[in-house]
């Protein structure tokens, strides 16, 4: 397991190399970006494969024992997240080579892209609270710059909104870290979990948990804190919105929240109730807003909020089935939402507009985009053979099993509304009559088609992941980590021995 720090080294060093060469080698930035993300994907799958269930690997940075130095921890959950992140990043990097030809200073884009990816990976493998905060900031600063990449009115405004919101979120997180440090006098997560187990009656730990929920909720875009999300996704360049929706909110918001609440602080029934209510609220509220949207990407952005709501609610159930369903839905959502954003990018690339009123009949002219988006729409609204159906079914079943019939009804309702809005999307964008000014529209280049096809295949055969031999290796260890809660600390200590 010497390879763990390479999850951070590879993207960051590639970013530095790109900035050294700038424009001098025209092909280098894109090539390096795709190459490094491919390497990372291979590395993450390798890590996932070599990890036995219920075991954590701990890497001591600089050969210091963890409470003194910083440790990197890999267990079932983080390796699962790494696979998701690097899969989506690879696909998006491939897509952005062609797409970013519409912007100047492409080397800048790729460098920031890799910095953001490195920050996200580092957050996922970090075993130290302050270290997590530092890389959280790295990821949010670079993503804010990426949102502002177009430097037009909307982009700048959305970037400012996003930056302010995410900074406020990180300030809450930093405050919570400060309180925890004073209470336990250590920054290592395993160490904190150990010392909290000794007994903590009082208001401090709930208060800190609420601070964490506010901070990471802002990053994840749950409903009371969602104001930045639609603007940001609409304004950002499409690869960035695909990456942010597919990876960013999940690894910086949901993953960190789960890791800290479940494994470090210990989750109480009240907290899980809060999570479920937040999840259900985002699920229903966002989807009702989404039905009325006419901008392709804005509609997708509202759906992002709503699907994150599914994930959070289902994990908040705290039953094995609920957590399994939540994580499976997280994976599925990454794939189909990224695919939809890539479709939106392709449509924008070809037709130069995102307004659903001005589109129509694109299916004949752009067969690949049309068909893949059909797959993705069916997956997100839960039509049987695709992966979205299975995870939604499991979520509803888990709700029923946990005697939360009300939440099950809300989930079903949100699912129906999702179906409605995507039927509308398909009708206005891809079916119907072709408008006059789009007569000589062409299909997008091969490098943009390939990622969409790959993601569509994953969407179609995603249910394979539920078969017991695959799930046992892929999903089950992650579920174990969350279920075991504060056993996390013992695993880390064991691994150090």
């Amino acid at each position: 397991m010497k390879l763990i720090p390479f999850f951070v080294i590879i993207p960051l060093s590639c970013a530095f190399i790109i900035t050294l060469f700038r424009n001098r080698l025209r092909f280098l930035p894109g090539l390096l970006c795709v190459f490094s993300t491919f390497l990372l994907l291979g590395l993450s799958i390798h890590t996932k494969g070599s990890l036995a269930e219920g075991v954590s690997f701990v890497y001591k940075v600089g050969n210091w024992m963890p409470p003194i130095g910083i440790s990197l921890v890999i267990d079932g959950l983080s390796s699962f997240m790494l696979v998701v992140i690097n899969l989506i990043a690879f696909v998006v990097a491939l897509f952005s080579i062609e797409y970013m030809k519409r912007f100047t200073a492409r080397w800048n884009f790729f460098a920031l892209f890799l910095l953001m990816l490195g920050g996200t990976n580092a957050v996922v493998i970090s075993g130290d609270l302050f270290n997590l905060f530092v890389f959280l900031e790295l990821a949010s600063i670079s993503s804010a710059a990426l949102v502002a990449f177009g430097t037009e009115h909307e982009e700048i405004e959305a970037a400012f909104k996003y930056l302010v919101m995410s900074v406020v979120g990180s300030l809450f997180v930093l405050l919570a870290i400060a309180l925890l440090y004073s209470y336990t006098s250590t920054l290592n997560m395993a160490d904190i979990a150990m010392s909290l187990q000794a007994g903590s009656a009082g208001i401090l730990i709930p208060f800190v948990s609420v601070l964490f929920i506010m901070g990471f909720g802002l990053k994840a875009g749950l409903v009371p804190f969602h104001a930045w999300l639609p603007d940001t996704y609409t304004a950002a360049p499409t690869p960035v919105s695909a990456l942010m929706s597919g990876v960013f909110t999940k690894s910086l918001g949901v993953y960190t929240l789960m890791r800290i609440l479940f494994n470090v602080l210990g989750v109480t029934p009240q907290l899980s109730k809060i999570l479920m209510v937040l999840g259900a609220l985002s699920m229903v509220f966002a989807v009702t807003l989404a039905v009325g949207q006419w901008d392709f990407k804005r509609l997708l952005a509202y759906h992002s909020i709503s699907q994150i709501g599914y994930v959070v609610m289902s994990i908040g159930l705290m039953t094995p089935l609920g957590i399994l369903a939540g994580l499976f839905h997280l994976f599925n959502h990454s794939t189909f939402k990224s695919l939809l954003f890539l479709n939106a990018g392709a449509v924008e690339y070809a037709a130069d507009t995102r307004d659903l009123n001005k589109l129509g009949g694109l299916r004949k002219k752009m067969p690949v985009t049309g068909n893949t988006s059909l797959v993705a729409s069916m997956a997100i609204s839960g039509i049987p053979p695709f992966n979205g159906f299975w995870s939604k079914l499991m979520i509803i079943l888990a709700c029923v099993q946990a005697n939360a019939i009300g939440f099950a009804i809300w989930a079903t309702l949100a699912s129906i509304l999702t179906l409605v809005s995507f039927a509308k999307l398909q009708k206005f964008a891809f079916f119907g009559a072709l408008p006059e000014q789009l007569k000589n529209i062409k299909e997008v280049p091969l490098l943009m088609r390939l990622p969409m096809i790959v993601l569509a295949l994953i969407c179609t055969f995603g249910a394979v992941l539920l078969l017991s031999p695959v799930a046992g290796n892929f999903l089950q260890p992650a579920v174990r980590v969350l279920l075991d809660g504060q056993l996390y600390a013992f695993r880390v200590v064991e691994a150090l021995r």
Partner: protein, 152 residues
């Protein structure tokens, strides 16, 4: 800051005073960087002080003079290079078995040449910080000129 003479520089008094002080400020910054491991301070503070000395130069003499000292290409090259060096030093730790492991000898306490990699890190950080902040300031000021020209 008087009107719009940033392009040319400021009055004679300011120029003379800053000519005298720039060297001292820079020296002080370098002192802080090099003694980072035995006295308060360190790479970051020292780097910012060095950057401030360049910024003073720019405010006093106008941007051409400052750009003579550090051309923009050199600044951005040093920035990327500093980052890469940091990572390189970290990777060097692999020869000692771990990422970021300290492979040099520790030396004797209280001496200037001690504490293994710490002074090296300090120097690298200071280069990076100095050039980076200078570049940021330059970009912000340049934009201001541009919008002013547009206004006229």
């Amino acid at each position: 800051m008087t009107n719009s003479d940033n392009l040319k520089g400021m009055t004679l008094i300011v120029k003379t005073v800053s000519r005298l002080t720039v060297g001292l400020i820079m020296l002080f910054g370098i002192y802080i960087v090099v003694h980072g491991h035995v006295a308060p301070g360190g790479g970051f503070a020292g780097g910012v002080i060095i950057a401030l000395s360049f910024i003073l130069l720019m405010l006093a003499f106008g941007k051409e003079k400052a750009l003579e000292k550090i051309p923009k290409a050199v600044a951005s090259f040093l920035e990327g290079f500093g980052a890469l060096m940091f990572l390189g030093l970290a990777l060097l730790g692999f020869s000692g078995g771990y990422f970021f492991a300290n492979v040099f000898g520790r030396g004797e306490a209280f001496k200037l040449f001690s504490a293994g990699e710490i002074p090296l890190y300090n120097i690298i950080i200071s280069i990076k910080v100095c050039t980076g902040l200078f570049a940021i300031f330059l970009v912000l000021v340049l934009l201001k000129f541009e919008s002013k020209l547009k206004g006229k």
